[in-house]
C-alpha cells in the first residue's frame, strides 16, 4: 500500500449528492421521456415504478452495504470487494466487471458529454445556425445535418478532418475537467462538483420547466398546446401493458438510470465508515434521481417538442435519445421566444448531468489501479487518463454510423451491467447470507430495510433480474452478433406515429393487410415483406453504407385502402469496426484481469483478508 491518507467523503450529504449525480445523466432527460411515450405513456409508469421497487432500490441497498463493508476491510475496488463478499477468487474475476463497466462507458460517454458542452457553447454564442422562420421539417433536417457533421457520422476520422474544430476543443476541455476533478480526490473534487452542480441543475431545470408549461405555440405552426404535449406523454395506453417489451423497457430504464450494477456505488460507499448510514442514503440518492427523471425529464422535453414541432416529428424522434436531444429540441429552441437562452440552459443541464456521471466512471478505475498496483493517486490518475483517452480516441475516430459507440454501449453499458447487478444481488442474498447482509446494512442506519424488502432482495430481485436479462438478450443480442458475423439485417418498419395513425384510421377491429412498394433509394428485396405486419427485415449488401429508402405502405381492411409514407434511414453498422471495437474491449478486459491478479498477489503477501474469512474491523 502507499502511505497516502485514505480518502473519505467530506459529509453525508456529499456522498448522497455524488451518487445521485452519478445516476442523473442524459438518460433522465432524453431516454426516459422517449421510452415512456413509446411504451404506453402514463401506463408505462406502472411497470416503471414496480421495477423501481423490486429491482432498483433493493439492489442499490445491497450495493451500498457491500461497498461500505469492503471499505472497512481496506478495499475500495469492485474486484477486491466482490472477492470478500463471494469468499473467493471467482468473486474477484466477477468484480472486474465493476471496473470494466465504468471505464468502458467512459470511453464514449465523454464524447457525448463533449457534444453537450459544444451545443451549450454554440447557444451561448447565438445557436446552431438553423434558418430563422423556416418551417419545422426544414429546420429539423438542418439540425440533423449539423449533428451528423459534429459527431462525424458520415466517415471515420471526419471529426479530425477540419483540424481543431469546436467539437474537438469541447472534447479536450471535457476530458481535462474530468481528469482534474478526479485527481483532486473524493472530497475536494467529485463531492465539490456534485454539491454545486446538482442544485444548479435542479434550479435550471425548474426554470426551463416553468417556461415549457407556459408555452403557446406560435401562430401558423402546429396548433398543439402544452395540454396536448403532456397528453402525448402521460395519457395511458393500456394495451402496451400486454407487451413484454414495455416491461423490459421500464426495467431497463430504472436499471440504467439508477447506476446500480455499474461499479460506482460499491466504490463510493467503500469510503464510508461503519457509523455512516447507507439505507437512508441509498434511498435518498434513488429518490433524487427519480425527481430529475420523472418531474423534469417527464415534463420538459416531449411537451416542448409536441408544442413546436408537432406529434409526427416528435414521434419520429422519441425512439432515439440523440435524435430527441440534438435533432428535435434545437428546432424547438429555434421557434421558441428566448430560445437561445433556454437552449443554452438546457444543454448546460445536460452537460452538468453528464459530467457528474462521467466523474463517477473514472473513480472506480483510479481506486482499482491505486490499490492493486500500490501506486500513488497521481500515478493512478495518469494511468486512468491514458487508458480513458485511448478509448475516447478510438470512439472518436471510428465515428462512422456510431458503430464503435453503439457496440460498447450495448455490451458494456447494458449487457455487462445486468450481469454485474445479478452477481451482486446473488452474492449479497445467497453467498454472504441475507441476515448478515441486512445486519451490515443496518449498522449506523437511520431507517430499517422493511422485512418485505428482505424477501424481495433474496428472491424477487434475482428472479426479476434473470427475466430481464434473458428478455434483453433475446430481443437485442441476435442483431449485435449478426453484426459481428457480418450478416447485417435492417428492419423496415412503420414508426410509432404511423402505427398510431393507422390505428386511428382503422378503429374498428378488422384484419388489416399491408403491401409495400419501394419509391426511392437503392433497390431493396421485398420478398420478406409479410402481408400481416407493419415491418419486414431485409439483408443489406455487404458494401451498403448509410442511405435512405422510401416506401409506400398500402393498408387495407378489405373495403378501404390508404397509403402511408415510410422512410427508413439505414445506418449500417460496419462489421469491421464492430470487430475492432470488440478487440479493443478484449484488450481492456485482459489488462484489467492482469492488474487484478497482480493486486491479489500483493494483498495476499500483505496478509490481508482478501477472501473475506475474517469479520471486518470498525
Amino acid at each position: 500500500m502507499t502511505n497516502q491518507p485514505t480518502q473519505q467523503w467530506g459529509s453525508r450529504l456529499g456522498v448522497i449528492l455524488a451518487v445521485a449525480g452519478s445516476a442523473v445523466g442524459l438518460g433522465n432527460f432524453l431516454r426516459f421521456p422517449g421510452n415512456a411515450a413509446e411504451h404506453g405513456g402514463g401506463a408505462f409508469m406502472i411497470p416503471y415504478f414496480l421495477a423501481l421497487i423490486f429491482l432498483g432500490i433493493p439492489i442499490g441497498w445491497a450495493e451500498w452495504a457491500m461497498g461500505r463493508y469492503g471499505g472497512r476491510k481496506g478495499f475500495h475496488s469492485a474486484p477486491a470487494i466482490m472477492g470478500v463478499w463471494c469468499k473467493g477468487g471467482w468473486g474477484r474475476f466477477a468484480g472486474v466487471l465493476g471496473v470494466l463497466v465504468p471505464l468502458g462507458v467512459y470511453f464514449y460517454y465523454v464524447i457525448i458529454e463533449a457534444w453537450c458542452l459544444y451545443y451549450f457553447w454554440l447557444y451561448c454564442t447565438g445557436g446552431i445556425g438553423l434558418t430563422p422562420g423556416a418551417d419545422a421539417p426544414t429546420q429539423a433536417q438542418q439540425a440533423r445535418d449539423f449533428f451528423t457533421t459534429v459527431i462525424g457520422q458520415s466517415e471515420n476520422g471526419s471529426t479530425f478532418s477540419n483540424g481543431m474544430s469546436g467539437m474537438l476543443w469541447s472534447f479536450l476541455v471535457t476530458a481535462a475537467l474530468n481528469v482534474w476533478f478526479v485527481y483532486r480526490g473524493l472530497s475536494k473534487g467529485i463531492e465539490t462538483v456534485c454539491k454545486y452542480a446538482m442544485p444548479v441543475m435542479a434550479v435550471l431545470g425548474l426554470v426551463v420547466l416553468a417556461r415549457v408549461l407556459t408555452l403557446d405555440a406560435p401562430p401558423g405552426t402546429t396548433g398543439q398546446t402544452v395540454n396536448d404535449g403532456l397528453g402525448y406523454l402521460w395519457n395511458p395506453h393500456w394495451e402496451e401493458l400486454t407487451n413484454f417489451k414495455t416491461w423490459l423497457a421500464a426495467a431497463g430504464q430504472i436499471f440504467f438510470s439508477l447506476s446500480v450494477g455499474f461499479g460506482v456505488i460499491i466504490n463510493y460507499s467503500s469510503y464510508m465508515k461503519k457509523k455512516d448510514d447507507v439505507v437512508l442514503s441509498g434511498l435518498t440518492a434513488s429518490a433524487t434521481n427519480e425527481f430529475f427523471e420523472v418531474v423534469l425529464g417527464g415534463l420538459i422535453t416531449v411537451t416542448a417538442s409536441v408544442v413546436f414541432v408537432g406529434v409526427t416529428l416528435t414521434g419520429q424522434s422519441t425512439g432515439s435519445s440523440f435524435s430527441l436531444g440534438f435533432n428535435t429540441l434545437p428546432v424547438v429552441f429555434a421557434q421558441m421566444p428566448g430560445g437561445v437562452f433556454f437552449g443554452a440552459s438546457f444543454f448546460l443541464i445536460l452537460f452538468l448531468a453528464a459530467i457528474t456521471s462521467s466523474l463517477s466512471m473514472l473513480q472506480p478505475s483510479q481506486a482499482f489501479f491505486e490499490e492493486s498496483l500500490g501506486i500513488s493517486r497521481g500515478k493512478a490518475t495518469a494511468l486512468v487518463t491514458v487508458w480513458g483517452l485511448a478509448g475516447n480516441a478510438f470512439v472518436l475516430w471510428y465515428s462512422k454510423g456510431l458503430t464503435a459507440l453503439d457496440t460498447i454501449d450495448f455490451w458494456v453499458g447494458a449487457f455487462f451491467i445486468l450481469v454485474m447487478a445479478g452477481l451482486q444481488i446473488f452474492a449479497f442474498g445467497w453467498i454472504f447470507g441475507l441476515d448478515r447482509g441486512i445486519a451490515e446494512a443496518h449498522a449506523g442506519a437511520h431507517m430499517h430495510i422493511p422485512k418485505f424488502f428482505q424477501f424481495v432482495i433474496k428472491y424477487v430481485a434475482p428472479a426479476y433480474l434473470l427475466v430481464v436479462l434473458v428478455g434483453f438478450c433475446v430481443n437485442n443480442m441476435p442483431g449485435y452478433i449478426d453484426t459481428l458475423r457480418g450478416n447485417v439485417t435492417t428492419a423496415v418498419a412503420a414508426n410509432d406515429a404511423t402505427k398510431k395513425q393507422i390505428a386511428a384510421d382503422y378503429p374498428a377491429p378488422a384484419k388489416l393487410t399491408y403491401a409495400w412498394t419501394q419509391v426511392d433509394g437503392p433497390p431493396v428485396a421485398l420478398g420478406d415483406a409479410a402481408k400481416d405486419k407493419t415491418s419486414f427485415p431485409f439483408h443489406e449488401p455487404p458494401d451498403a453504407r448509410n442511405f435512405k429508402v422510401k416506401f409506400a405502405l398500402d393498408v387495407s381492411d378489405g373495403t378501404a385502402k390508404k397509403t402511408y409514407p415510410v422512410e427508413v434511414e439505414v445506418d449500417v453498422e460496419s462489421p469491421g469496426t464492430a470487430r475492432l471495437t470488440w478487440g479493443f474491449l478484449l484488450l481492456t478486459i485482459v489488462g484489467l484481469v492482469a492488474i487484478m491478479l497482480v493486486g491479489a498477489k500483493r494483498w495476499r503477501a500483505q496478509g490481508r483478508d482478501l477472501d473475506g474469512r475474517q469479520p471486518a474491523n470498525d
Binding site: I16, G42, M45, Y232, K274, T284, F291, L299
Partner: protein, 49 residues
C-alpha cells in the same frame, strides 16, 4: 397530424400521482438526512469487529 392528444383525466392522474409521489419521497428523504432527530440512536446491527 395524429388524433387529438389532449391530456385526459386519467393522464392527469398518472402525471400528478407520479410527479407528486417522487417529489414527496425526495423531500421526505432530504428532510431526514438534513434534520435527523437528535435523540435517535443508531439502529443495532453490523457485523462487529
Amino acid at each position: 397530424m395524429l388524433a387529438n392528444t389532449e391530456l385526459t383525466a386519467t393522464g392527469w392522474t398518472f402525471m400528478l400521482v407520479s410527479c407528486i409521489g417522487v417529489t414527496w419521497l425526495t423531500i421526505w428523504c432530504f428532510k431526514k438526512v438534513l434534520f435527523p432527530p437528535h435523540d435517535e440512536p443508531d439502529l443495532p446491527g453490523g457485523l462487529g469487529p
